[in-house]
């Protein structure tokens, strides 16, 4: 394990950016989002929840499959060549790190998603533990501890005071760490103790959080019963059908495929879609989900029932972004509770 002081971080950033695109949480106009690091950027590790999740680096909101070109009446298809430059996402919280794994389940199982795979392989994930969970955090409900090292991360970091502890996890992580060795110091015994204390403290804090009693395992996962439940009528009432929960969610992964006709050339692209939208699942004959209740139900059945049925994990990591962003304060915690997912 290594460490670096906060003051030296810019040096670390510029070092990493020499060979990588570096993405870090950057504060701009009072809102923090993962963005490309540039010299002088206002990096902010104090805010736990970036507006949108870092999933956009492995599953961008919009990406092109291929271009097509028409000359006269001839049509030619051109595959998109992948960018070679590797990237580093620095500051991925354990919940978001977990979400990458959940997306892997979908995109990296057969049939493989090449675009996803390419992006996933090109990236180095530098995770960062949390010390001060927020009211809206409920990662614990999905057995994600705020300081846990999630599977698939390359480096795990922890910020305590002005020290950032740095632990290489994967081979890629070791390689990156080696490149940065000039900037990183070794940790002391005292440091390790400090880490231990911090970890146990945060685990206690998590138990005190408002959502700590949420437990999706308490939900009776009888598909038919849940699907037919009257509860959906009631809890979907206030949903206004926007896609903010979906688009800030680190685990949502539905997309739409569209063509753009750009005159002499066009492209086929995919873009995030939301099951909350009225035209989601629109087919030639019409739409099987005609009301917001059905769309609402779909989103949460997917996260809490369908996905777990396939992968034995919930498609939610308790990051709490949707809790903060929903215009009408409806969110998955309320749904879980209504469905009985609560510890007494």
């Amino acid at each position: 394990m290594k460490k670096i002081t906060e003051e030296k971080l810019p040096e670390l950033y510029s070092h990493i950016s020499q060979n990588h695109d570096l993405f870090v949480p950057i504060d701009q106009d009072d809102s923090v989002n993962f963005s490309l690091w540039k010299d002088g950027a206002n990096v902010n590790f104090d805010v736990l929840k970036t507006n949108t999740s870092p999933k956009k680096y492995i599953f961008p909101q919009c990406e092109t499959f291929f271009n097509f070109k028409s000359e006269g009446k001839k049509l030619t298809i051109e595959r998109i060549k992948s960018e070679e430059k590797p990237y580093v996402v620095f500051g991925v919280r354990p919940c978001d790190a977990k979400s990458f794994r959940l997306l892997d389940n979908v995109f990296l199982s057969e049939p493989m998603d090449r675009l996803y795979e390419e992006k996933r392989n090109r990236g180095i994930i530098v995770s960062m533990g949390c010390n001060e969970p927020e009211d809206t955090c409920f990662c614990n409900s999905f057995s994600i501890l705020p300081n846990s090292i999630q599977e698939g991360v390359d480096v795990f970091t922890l910020k305590l005071g002005n020290k950032i502890f740095w632990e290489a996890i994967s081979e890629n992580g070791v390689e990156l760490t080696n490149k940065l060795s000039d900037l990183l110091d070794d940790v002391t015994e005292g440091d390790l103790k400090e880490i231990e204390i911090a970890k146990s403290q945060v685990n206690e804090k998590v138990k005190e959080l408002p959502f700590s009693n949420i437990d999706p395992n308490e939900i009776n996962r009888d598909l038919n019963e849940l699907f037919q439940s009257k509860i959906w009528d009631e809890i979907s009432k206030s949903c206004i059908g926007c896609g903010s929960c979906t688009f800030v969610c680190p685990t949502c992964h539905c997309y739409d495929i569209q063509d753009y006709d750009g005159n002499k050339s066009g492209e086929r692209y995919r873009c995030w879609d939301s099951c909350m939208y009225s035209e989601f699942t629109l087919m030639a004959h019409g739409n099987p989900r005609t009301t917001q209740k059905e769309r609402f139900r779909q989103r949460f059945m997917h996260k809490l029932v369908y996905y777990p049925n396939n992968f034995d994990e919930y498609a939610c990591v308790g990051c709490g972004r949707c809790v903060g962003k929903c215009p009408v304060n409806m969110n998955i915690t309320k749904v879980i509770r209504k469905l009985g997912g609560e510890n007494q």
Binding site: S70, G72, K73, N263, K264, T290
Partner: protein, 661 residues
């Protein structure tokens, strides 16, 4: 996939000299959907059209683009040609490569490039064109004439003579209008009543004419060929069918305090009255505001004396709803109020009168039995001053900016009438300009000056100053620069004409527009002078602008012939490029109904089945017969539910895209 044929016209050298037509045709052939692309010297010629027709048949073209002159020139030609070849005419588009290209650009490369772009846009549009079939609408073979003056009477007689039913609505108790008030007519000085009364009688006797006097238009809905009009027939309190017109009721009526409208307030009339002896119908009406019976409940003398038992105090307003194919508006004009012209002392001194009051005074059937007497003392005046342009050609808020057109002639007439009866009376006319265009008009005015010795003074009157028995008129002769003072006995003001106060309101009911002076607007000032922008509604007489009698009658017959042309058709074909609503998208906000100038969009409730449940939904609905295809509604519609056939959102976007090639 569409099978589009592109035909590039040379227009001799008109296009070919500046645009490389071969190149255009070559490029067009590469465009998506184009299966045939060719050029020809004169596409509009017989041979050119044959080329088009044969190609449609031989190549099984389902869409055609002709790159030629403006669609305003030959769109119809090529669409007809396509139709002859069995293609729906609306599957033809024109690329305007002459007026918009070869004639305005000099550089051949640039012009050719642009011509290709214009063809590309036309191809892009035509790909999205759909077959359009004009609708047909039936026509109600009945006309409505609003206003029963000379214009309305003439229109009604003409239409009735053509064999169609006509209803005439007149607001006052009798038809006749302003012309009935007038004594003599210029330039022939024949008696107005003598020529008008027979026409009034004709109208009342005509089997095809139905008079609704003392009635007003309440509501108009529908569209050309199928108007539905609600007429409010005000309670006359006298049963027309029973009344014999004996006049005893009028004679016995004790109420005598109301000023006579027909006599311009110079004398009073009874509460039960006919406006004038020759009134048509010659049936009295009870003015309920003046009638003692209605005011106090006591009286009822008229009912007692009426042997025909025609008096009915209980009568109520009745509504008549009738369908019409055509409407002619002939509501006439009024004179402006002279209250703002304090310097002329009108209303202050009884001897200052308007020209219309003068008509009554000089009329043999008028209050003075035709004798020229001063209203103040019933004595013969010695000096009479006429002042023209009182409020006409006046840019201020006091008057009207336009020339009232009739004043020069009737003032000359009045002056002449005085001189004829009383050669000893001195007559002075103040004028700014004398305007007498018209057959025998200038000769008429000159006769007043040269033969009758009327003193015309170019200049205006600054003040009319009542001075004891006399009216001191201060004026100026602009030509000599002399200031003039006349001790007059009678001053006659040629007040400006104006549109009827309620013209705008009627215009709204009919959806026809009025100009800044509230005269109804014709569809085109030169070429469509009696039509309005609303199909099936025509204008006659002074409601469209100041007019004299000959012009009014001419326009009335013109409006009648337009109405007859319409009524004589068995069906109307409407423009198929109209708006249509996609009910599945329409959100029922009905904003589109607010902007439609033709009230062609209405709301309706549709029912549809959704998951086994019947759902009612409010949506807009376009009446294709009323829609003229402006497309304003399409922009108002946020979700894009209402679109315009022939100029759809997708078609225009395709054109934009094609031009940005």
């Amino acid at each position: 996939m569409a099978r589009i044929g592109v035909f590039v016209c040379w227009c001799g050298s008109n296009i070919a000299a500046t645009v490389d037509v071969k190149e255009v045709a070559k490029e067009a052939a590469k465009m998506s959907g184009v299966v045939l692309s060719t050029d020809y010297q004169y596409m509009c010629s017989e041979i050119g059209q044959n080329l088009l027709r044969n190609a449609i048949k031989k190549e099984k073209l389902d869409r055609v683009v002709v790159a030629a002159c403006s669609p305003r020139m030959h769109e119809v030609t090529f669409r007809k040609a396509a139709e002859l070849a069995g293609l729906n005419p609306y599957l033809v588009e024109i690329a305007n490569i002459r007026e918009h290209c070869s004639w305005v650009h000099k550089n051949k490369d640039e012009a050719t490039e642009k011509a290709i772009a214009l063809v590309r846009a036309a191809v892009a549009k035509v790909t999205l064109n759909q077959e359009l079939i004009p609708g047909e609408i039936g026509i109600e073979k009945r006309a409505l004439v609003i206003g029963g003056g000379i214009a309305g009477i003439q229109t009604a007689l003409d239409i009735a003579d053509a064999g169609y039913m006509v209803d005439v609505i007149e607001k006052t108790p009798s038809i006749g209008g302003k012309m009935a008030q007038i004594d003599k007519t210029f330039p022939t000085l024949d008696c107005s009543a003598c020529i008008l009364t027979p026409k009034m009688v004709d109208a009342s006797m005509h089997p095809n004419i139905n008079l609704h006097t003392y009635s007003e238009v309440e509501k108009v809905s529908g569209y050309v060929g199928n108007f539905e009009v609600t007429i409010n027939k005000k309670a006359r309190s006298v049963i027309i069918e029973k009344c014999s017109g004996c006049g005893v009721c009028i004679e016995k009526c004790p109420s005598r305090k109301t000023k006579s409208e027909f006599e311009e307030g110079l004398v009073n009339r009874k509460a039960i009255y006919t406006p004038f002896p020759q009134a048509v119908p010659n049936v009295p009406v009870i003015d309920r505001e003046a009638c003692i019976k209605f005011k106090t409940g006591k009286c009822g003398i008229c009912k007692k004396v009426c042997t025909a038992e025609a008096i009915d105090f209980e009568q109520e307003d009745t509504k008549i709803i009738q369908k019409y194919g055509a409407i002619v508006v002939s509501t006439g004009y009024d004179l402006i109020d002279l209250a703002k012209f304090g310097e002329y002392a009108y209303g202050e001194d009884p001897d200052v009168i308007t020209s219309l009051e003068f008509e009554r005074i000089t009329n043999a059937a008028g209050p003075t039995a035709g004798k020229l007497l001063r209203p103040s003392n019933n004595e013969k005046p010695e000096k009479v001053v006429f002042i023209q342009c009182v409020g006409s050609r006046d840019k201020t808020c006091r008057g009207k900016t336009y020339c009232s057109k009739i004043c020069c002639m009737y003032t000359a007439k009045h002056a002449m009438l005085i001189k004829e009866k009383y050669p000893d009376i001195e007559v002075h006319v103040f004028y700014i300009d004398v305007r007498t265009p018209g057959k025998n008009f200038d000769e008429f005015q000159r006769r007043a000056v040269e033969e009758y010795g009327v003193n015309y003074i170019k200049g205006m009157v600054g003040k009319v100053f009542p001075d004891g028995d006399k009216l001191r008129v201060y004026g100026v002769d602009a030509l000599s620069g002399d200031t003039i003072e006349i001790d007059a006995d009678l001053v006659v003001l040629a007040a400006a004409t104006k549109a009827k106060e309620d013209a705008e309101e009627l215009g709204r009911k009919l959806s026809i527009s009025t100009d800044t002076n509230n005269f109804f607007t014709e569809a085109h000032p030169k070429l469509r002078p009696v039509e309005t922008h609303s199909a099936g509604i025509y204008l006659a007489g002074a409601c469209q602008g100041p007019k004299d009698i000959p012009e009014t009658v001419a326009q009335a017959s013109a409006a009648a012939s337009k109405a007859i042309i319409l009524l004589s058709k068995s069906k109307l074909i409407n423009n198929p490029c109209v708006a249509k609503v996609d009910e599945t998208i329409c959100c029922g906000c009905l904003e589109c109904t607010n902007i439609c100038p033709y009230e062609a969009i209405a709301s309706t409730i549709i029912e549809y089945r959704d998951h086994g449940k019947m759902i009612k939904k409010l949506v807009s609905e376009v009446n294709e017969a009323l829609c003229q295809g402006c497309g304003g509604c399409t922009v108002t519609c946020r979700p894009g539910a209402i679109d315009l056939k022939g100029f759809s959102n997708k078609q225009i976007l395709a054109e934009v895209d094609a031009l940005c090639f």
